[in-house]
């Protein structure tokens, strides 16, 4: 299929969508699904069917995450006559109220409809009189929405993740069409480099530079791998992107492949994300059927194909060399770098590995241009970052904010403070590889460098808020337990060191700690950091070190309270 045909498809879909007076979007992302969105969307559809309204009056659309996961299931109504309205906590009753309010009830065309339909019509009539729907409406001018800037998630929550046409109608694959027709691989890499995009997997390596490394390798075979092994407990940005807008990630991947000269690509997805696996597989299949993947992509002489590989429950496989081993069907143990995957990756061939969010950033950058993108963010960290906001906050969910926003804005404005009587204590970023940031540093602008300075990392984007009820030594122990469990066992400092750190923490928590244990713990953490083989071991002590730095008195209290009497 050529680009023109694709544009025609997009045009057709746009026209089809515009015909509807109103469209009702129901989030079917994992968080909302577990809150009962499956029942909600069925109820919406049943209610719409029962209305028996005019053709092109209303359409119920399944879509992705709208952000405020803690209030799910979320439903958005886009009516031609007014502003879009988002409803929260939509159960079956509320969904009937919504339809009753927005959709005019049509006359029964056929008197012999089933009793079920009659019953629903009765319920809808009653629902129209019921009050309280206003309380479910979310204020889209509230800081939770107003403070966000959506680039990566722009179409998430608007497109049907299972429909290629819908993505096309939202401008999908136009970036791919543009680069294939108008840009050389070198120009693409330069564009990405100029945009200032840095790897969203955690370390923040400049993406354009990485692309150039792979592009310059001389090899007949090269690979692109999208790292969707989002293992940080408390993070689910990548899952959302793969589930809710798989084509955007796929488009980024195809552009990357064209830029570096790869002909085959893999999505490596966590086994715990069956819906993401399913949606990406479906996206690949549809793309292949429509000539976006396979031989002669969009009628050009560029060939590219992609497949999915499923992880099997190993956090360390997020590390790129371990990931390579896992794709090759081996134990996911990291190896020493160099050689970097850009020179010797999958089966010894040059391989580009980028995180899901990084790939999802590519189409907007190509569409908007490097200059537009690099105006967002701070001097060294450009663009936006998606965070999974979780823990003790009123508003939890998925947010996208410009780099450089302060933690205070995220927590108090977007997150709307800690609920109840408890007080904010720390913000944990970067999961088991990150650290805890206390209240006095809340005005730090969030970017790669600043978080590093605070002994934490950007990580993939988990942001867990802890309130005063959590004991920091115990929290550090929780992460160390995770690292012990997830260490691959290859290098000594990580295999044995994490166990010894955990033992020391247990000793302190159990009240058997001695004054010199704190120094011992700190020294051991530095040893493990300095001598471990891969990123997992090198960053495993971060939660302990950062809590020792900012909450040392909690450790000291545990030790001194047990002094012999």
């Amino acid at each position: 299929m050529t680009l023109e045909k694709l544009e025609k498809m997009a045009q057709r879909e746009r026209e089809r969508q515009e015909k509807f007076e109103r469209r009702v979007f129901c989030c079917i992302s994992t968080a909302c699904l577990s809150a009962g969105a499956g029942r909600t969307i069925n109820a919406l559809q049943e209610a719409v069917d029962a209305c028996q309204c005019k053709e092109n009056d209303v359409e119920v659309v399944q879509t992705g995450c709208m952000g405020l996961c803690s209030r799910g299931p979320l439903v958005r109504v886009e009516d031609k006559s007014g502003e879009p309205i988002i409803y929260a906590d939509v159960d079956i009753d509320v969904s009937q109220q919504i339809i009753a309010k927005h959709v005019p009830m049509g006359k029964l065309k056929d008197e012999s409809v089933s009793e079920d339909v009659q019953e629903i019509r009765e319920k809808l009539k009653k629902a129209r009189r019921r009050k309280g729907l206003e309380q479910r409406i979310l204020d889209t001018n509230a800081p939770f929405f107003a403070k966000q800037e959506k680039i990566v998630l722009q179409n998430v929550g608007h497109v049907d993740p299972e429909k290629l046409e819908d993505y096309l109608a939202h401008g999908g694959y136009s970036a791919l069409g543009h680069v294939l027709q108008n840009m050389t691989p070198e120009e693409i890499c330069d564009e990405i480099l100029r945009s200032g995009l840095r790897g969203r997997g955690g370390a923040g390596f400049p993406t354009g530079m990485k692309w150039n490394f792979v592009r310059k390798e001389e090899s007949s075979t090269k690979y692109v791998v999208v790292n969707g092994d989002e293992g940080d407990p408390g993070a689910y940005m990548d899952r959302t992107m793969m589930e809710d807008n798989p084509h955007q990630v796929l488009e980024g991947m195809i552009i990357a492949a064209y830029a570096v000269g790869a002909s085959y690509g893999y999505f490596y997805i966590r086994g715990e994300y069956p819906i993401a696996v399913d949606r990406i597989r479906r996206a690949i299949r549809t793309a292949r059927r429509n000539g976006i993947l396979g031989k002669n992509v969009l009628g050009t002489d560029f060939n590219f194909n992609a497949a999915v590989r499923i992880g099997a429950g190993a956090f360390v496989c997020g590390e790129e060399t371990a990931l390579i081993h896992s794709v090759e069907g081996k134990r996911g143990m990291p190896r020493m770098r160099p050689p970097y995957p850009s020179t010797s990756g999958l089966w010894g061939k040059p391989t580009l590995i980028n995180n899901v969010e990084t790939m999802a950033n590519i189409p907007p950058i190509i569409n908007g241009g490097a200059d537009w993108y690099s105006r967002i963010g701070t001097e060294k960290s450009k663009g936006t970052k998606v965070f999974a906001l979780a823990g003790q906050l009123t508003n939890t969910g998925l947010i996208e904010v410009p780099m450089g926003i302060t933690l205070r804005e995220i927590i108090y404005d977007i997150g709307n403070d800690v609920p109840g009587d408890a007080e904010f204590k720390a913000a944990q970023t970067g999961g088991p590889s990150g650290g805890c940031i206390p209240a006095e540093h809340l005005d730090t602008p969030v970017d790669y460098e600043n978080l590093n300075k605070l002994g934490s990392i950007m990580g993939s984007g988990g942001l867990v808020i802890i309130d005063s009820t959590t004991s920091m030594p115990e929290f550090a122990h929780f992460f160390m337990d995770f690292c012990v469990d997830e260490s691959c066992g290859k290098c000594v400092p990580c295999r044995v060191g994490t166990v010894q750190i955990r033992t020391l923490l247990e000793k302190i928590i159990d009240g058997r700690g001695e004054p010199e244990d704190l120094n011992k713990l700190e020294a051991l953490c530095h040893i493990v950091k300095a001598t471990s083989l891969c990123g997992l071991g090198q960053s495993a002590p971060n939660p302990v070190l950062s809590t020792l730095r900012f909450f040392r008195e909690e450790y000291q209290t545990l030790i001194s309270s047990q002094e012999p009497t």
Partner: protein
Amino acid sequence: MITLTIDEKKIEAPPGTHVLQVALANGIEIPHLCYHPELSVSGGCRLCIVEVEGYPEPVPSCGLACTDGLVITTHGERLHELRKNVLDLLISDHPLDCLICEKAGDCLLQQYAYEYGIKETTYTPTISSTLYQDDNPFFIRDHQYCILCGLCVRICDEIVGVHAIDFAKRGFESNIATPYDGPMIESTCVFCGNCVQVCPTAALMPVSRKNKGREWELDRKTTICGYCGVGCQLEYALKEGEIVYAQASPDGPVNGELLCTKGRYGWDFAHSPERLTRPLIRRDLAYELGLSSEAWEQPDTSPLAVKQPKIEDDFIAVDWETALDLVASRLAATVSEHGPDSVMGLSSARCTNEENYLFQKFIRVGIGTNNVDHCARL
């Protein structure tokens, strides 16, 4: 050639080599537990870390490719501290029973602990695996001593090509395992014992080694393996003249550090009372030749029917001169009486190429027949 500087010494190295390899070749010692020149690089033990100019943190030298102008420091205060701490961690997961351990004196971990002055671990001793497997007659697997360097796994996979063992589980709980931790005999193991040889600790020990004394009590005898014509060099460790175990020596020109199961474990015949050490002549023949004064007749009963036949019942020992003369004269008589084709020569795979060449030459030219063959064809 690449020129790099190691400890202020300019060293030339061929392209594609690694720093540790080059340092060792130039007599610069860097401690290492998981590196072996014949095997792929692992980088897990973290002892061979060195400081590289321009790098913020020390890096392991085993996987560091030599590049032009590289400046390396192999020893220093920080490196010493880091290595000592890594060893400390290793020892926290290793029994400190060197007093009764047969590997003492040959154990690399013990040697480094000595060099870095570690008496005991400063951490809480925690043994990760206490599995003890003595399921075969050749070697014992005692997992508490295992430091998971993976040399055994790599030699089994990369050189022997059997892949009988691999890492199982992960993290602190991981161990080197046969499938389902089953007996070795049920795995694909061929019992070549090369894993035992590369094991730096007492995790893999020959069964024959048990209770047979300490390393420094043993004498060493280098010899050539007699099992086949390859001519592997091997080294017997002896106590009071008796073999305790066999191993290959790294500088063996033919086999390096490798041996097969016969060379490594098939030496128990050496001390067998049934071993033939001198030529024997049948008693009736000896009487005929005047070598014995006793007349003797072969008994009617089949030798197969006799339980545990005693050699001295049927044979007497003679010197080599006599034996060779007897064989030569009998052979000559047979050839002259029945012609050369009445003789056939069958030689052995245990002889060298040169010996086999001489033997066929002797049969073809000396005897004059082409009736010559070799056991390896059977």
